[in-house]
Amino acid sequence: MFFGRRELLVLAAGLSFACNKPAPAGDSKGSAASPAPVPSQAGPISLNGAGATFPNPLYSKWIAEYNKQFPNIRINYQPIGSGGGIRQIIAGTVDFGATDAPMKEDESKQAPAKLFHIPATIGAVVISYKVPEVTEPLKLSPDVLADIYLGKIKKWNDPKISADNKDAKLPAKDISVVYRTDGSGTTNVFTDYLSAVSAEWKEKVGVGKSVKWPTGLGAKGNDGVTGQLTTTPYTIGYIERAYATQNKLPMAELKNTAGKFVAPTTAAISAAAEGVEMPAELYVSLVNSSAETAYPISGYSYLLVYADAKDGTKGEAIAKYLWWALHDGQKFSESLDYAPLPAKVVTLVEARLKELTAGGKKLL
C-alpha cells in the first residue's frame, strides 16, 4: 500500500514532467540503445558530492532534473573547489567528488581505495578583451597570446598582433592583462594550453590552478575577471565560456594546430575532444587538439567515485545517477555553454561505470 502510493507519486511526477517539457531531454526511457537504469524506490537516499565550481551550473541542473524524475534520490552538490573535492573524497566525507584537473599521483596514493575518474562534461576557456576600436573578433596566435601573458607584448598595436588582424584598427594603448587570482580549473586549463604552445611559459611559469604570473592584475573569480573586462578599456582576460556568452563579451578566435582561427563554438569544442584519444584511465588534456576544426583551450571535468562502494545502496544510486548523467544529462550541456561528451568517450565511460562494484558485487 505504502509502496504503491509512492510509486504512483513517482509516476505522476514523471508524467507531469514529461508534459511540462515535451523536449526529449527529460525522458529517462528516451534512448533505446542505453536504457537508463531506474533507481531503487525503496526509500529516500541522499547522496553528497563536492568539488569543482567550473561545472557547477550543469551539475545543479542535472540534480534538479534527476530529482524531478526520481524524487526519492536527493543529491547535494557543494561547489567548494576541485582541491576541496579531492580532499573530501579521500577523507570519505562525500559520496562523490568532482575535479577539473585529474588527481595527481601523490593524491591518488593518499586515497584509501581505488578512485575512478568519470569524465562528465567539457568546458572551454575563452579569451575576451575590451578594445573599443576592434569590432571584428580578434584573432590570436598561440605565441602571441603567450607573449602577452609573459609581459613581452605590451601594446595593442604590437606588429605581432596586427599581423593576424590586418583589417583591425589596433590602438597604441598598453594591454592590461587580467588573470584569475583564486585557484581554479579555468586557470589550470589555460596555463596547460600556454605550456603546450610556449616552451618559455612551460619553463618559467608552468601549469597549475594557481601560478606565479609574470605580469598583470589578479581578479577574483570568473565574475571578477568579467568585471574588469567590462569596466576597464584595453583589458585582456580569460574566462569560462558561459560567462562570456551571458555577458555578451567578445571572444577571440584562436589559431589551432591546423593553422586555422577558430571561435569557441560548441562544435569546435566537441571537435577538440574528438581529436584526442582517450586513454584507459579516462583522463586526458584536451588543449591544443590536433583536429582541424578544434578550438584549442578546453578541458574535461571529472567526477570521482570509489571503484568499490562501501555502502551498496548509495553505490547503486550513484552508479545509476552517473549513467543518467552520461546519457540524458548530456542534453543539458549546450544550453549551459558546455559541450557534450563525444560518442566514443560515452562508450568508454559506459564500460567504466559497469565496472563499479559494492563489496565485489556489480552495481549496473
Binding site: 576541485s82 592590461s176 587570482t181
Partner: protein, 328 residues
C-alpha cells in the same frame, strides 16, 4: 558621583540576598562560575586555533623556516613559498585605511556628539551604522564597478600630476591596487570607528564642557581642551577596533587590490593581503606543502594581528598615563 548612585541602587537588593542566605550565595557562585567559563572559552579557543594552525603549518615551517617570512617568491607550481609580500600588503593597506578613516571618523563622531542639531543626530548616526551592515562583497562589487574606474580615470592621473614626484604616486594607472584597497577598507572601518568614538565622546561629563564654556572657550576650544583629552584612551580603543576589522577583511579587498604578490612603493601598484591569499588559494590547493604554507600564512596573520593589537594597547596605556587636560 555616578558610583554613589550605583551603590544606592544595589544596596536594597543585596540586603534581600543576605536575607535569603545560602541560596543567594550559591546563585552568585554559579553565576560567577558560568560567566568565568564563558570568558575562559575565548582563551581556550584562541590557544586551540594557534595550536591547530601551528600543527598544520609544521611542514612549511620545517621546509622554509625564517625564509618564509623574508622570502617574496610565492610559486605553487614550483612548491616554493615566501609570504613577505602578503605581510607587506596587509600591514600597508590597513595603515593606509587608518590614515584615511581616522580623521573622517573622528570628524563624524565630534559632529554627531557635539555639534549636530538634536533632530539630525539620530538619523545620521543610524545611517553611519547602516554602512557597517553592508556585506563586504557588496563593497567589493562597488569597488570593481565604481571605485576602480573612478580612481583610474580621475584620481590617479590627478595624484600623479600633482604629487607624482613622490614614489608613492608613480606607475601606470590601473584603478585596481593598493590605493583602491586602502580606500575600500577605510570606508568599511569608518562606521566602526565613528560609532564607537561617538559613544566615547557622549560619555564625557557635561561638567567639563560647561567649565570650558564658562572660561569663555569657543566650540572648537571646548572640543579640543575639554572633550578630546578626556576621551583619548576610548578613542584609541575605537581605532584599534577599526584596525582589527581592516586586518582581517578579505572579500572586499581581494576584489580591488589587484592580487599580485609583489612589494612596490607605489600606491597605484597591485598588492596582495594574507587573508586574501588564503581565501583565494585554499579551496583549490592540493599538495601537502602548499596547504601547509597556506596554514602558515594564517598563523602569520594571527601573529601580526596580535602584535599590532598589543602595540595599540601599549599606546592606549601610554596615552592613559599622560596627564589629562589640554592647553589653550
Amino acid at each position: 558621583m555616578t558610583i554613589q548612585s550605583d551603590v544606592s541602587l544595589i544596596r536594597p537588593r543585596s540586603k534581600l540576598r543576605l536575607a535569603l542566605g545560602r541560596e543567594a550565595n550559591f546563585g552568585d557562585l554559579a553565576f560567577r562560575r558560568i560567566t568565568a567559563l564563558f570568558a575562559g572559552s575565548v582563551i581556550v579557543l584562541l590557544v586551540w586555533m594557534a595550536v591547530e594552525m601551528g600543527l598544520a603549518s609544521k611542514l612549511s615551517l620545517a621546509e622554509f623556516g625564517l625564509g618564509f617570512l623574508t622570502g617574496s617568491d610565492w610559486n605553487p607550481v614550483r612548491d616554493h613559498y615566501g609570504a613577505l609580500p602578503f605581510v607587506f600588503g596587509t600591514v600597508v593597506s590597513s595603515i593606509l585605511a587608518l590614515c584615511i578613516s581616522v580623521p573622517i571618523s573622528l570628524g563624524i563622531a565630534i559632529y554627531l556628539s557635539e555639534l549636530a542639531h538634536p533632530r539630525l543626530k539620530t538619523p545620521m548616526g543610524f545611517l553611519v551604522e547602516l554602512l557597517a551592515a553592508v556585506p563586504s562583497v557588496v563593497y567589493g562589487l562597488w569597488g570593481i564597478f565604481a571605485l576602480a574606474p573612478w580612481l583610474r580615470e580621475s584620481v590617479e592621473p590627478m595624484l600623479a600630476k600633482t604629487l607624482g614626484f613622490l614614489p608613492l604616486f608613480q606607475g601606470p594607472h590601473q584603478g585596481f591596487g593598493m590605493l583602491a584597497g586602502g580606500i575600500i577598507l577605510a570606508i568599511m572601518i569608518t562606521p566602526t570607528i565613528s560609532s564607537v568614538s561617538r559613544e566615547v565622546l557622549r560619555a564625557v561629563p557635561h561638567a567639563l564642557r560647561e567649565g570650558a564654556i564658562g572660561l569663555g572657550a569657543t566650540r572648537w576650544e571646548v572640543v579640543r581642551v575639554a572633550v578630546l583629552p578626556y576621551a583619548k584612551s576610548g578613542l584609541v580603543g575605537a581605532v584599534i577596533l577599526g584596525l582589527g576589522r581592516a586586518l582581517g577583511e578579505t572579500m572586499a579587498i581581494t576584489m580591488v587590490i589587484g592580487n599580485r604578490s609583489e612589494i612596490s612603493l607605489s600606491l597605484f601598484a597591485p598588492s596582495y593581503t594574507m587573508a586574501s591569499v588564503i581565501a583565494n588559494e585554499f579551496t583549490e590547493a592540493t599538495g601537502q606543502l602548499y596547504l601547509s604554507a597556506l596554514a602558515e600564512v594564517g598563523l602569520l596573520l594571527f601573529f601580526v594581528t596580535v602584535a599590532l593589537n598589543v602595540f595599540a594597547r601599549l599606546l592606549v596605556w601610554r596615552v592613559g598615563k599622560l596627564p589629562e587636560g589640554g592647553r589653550l
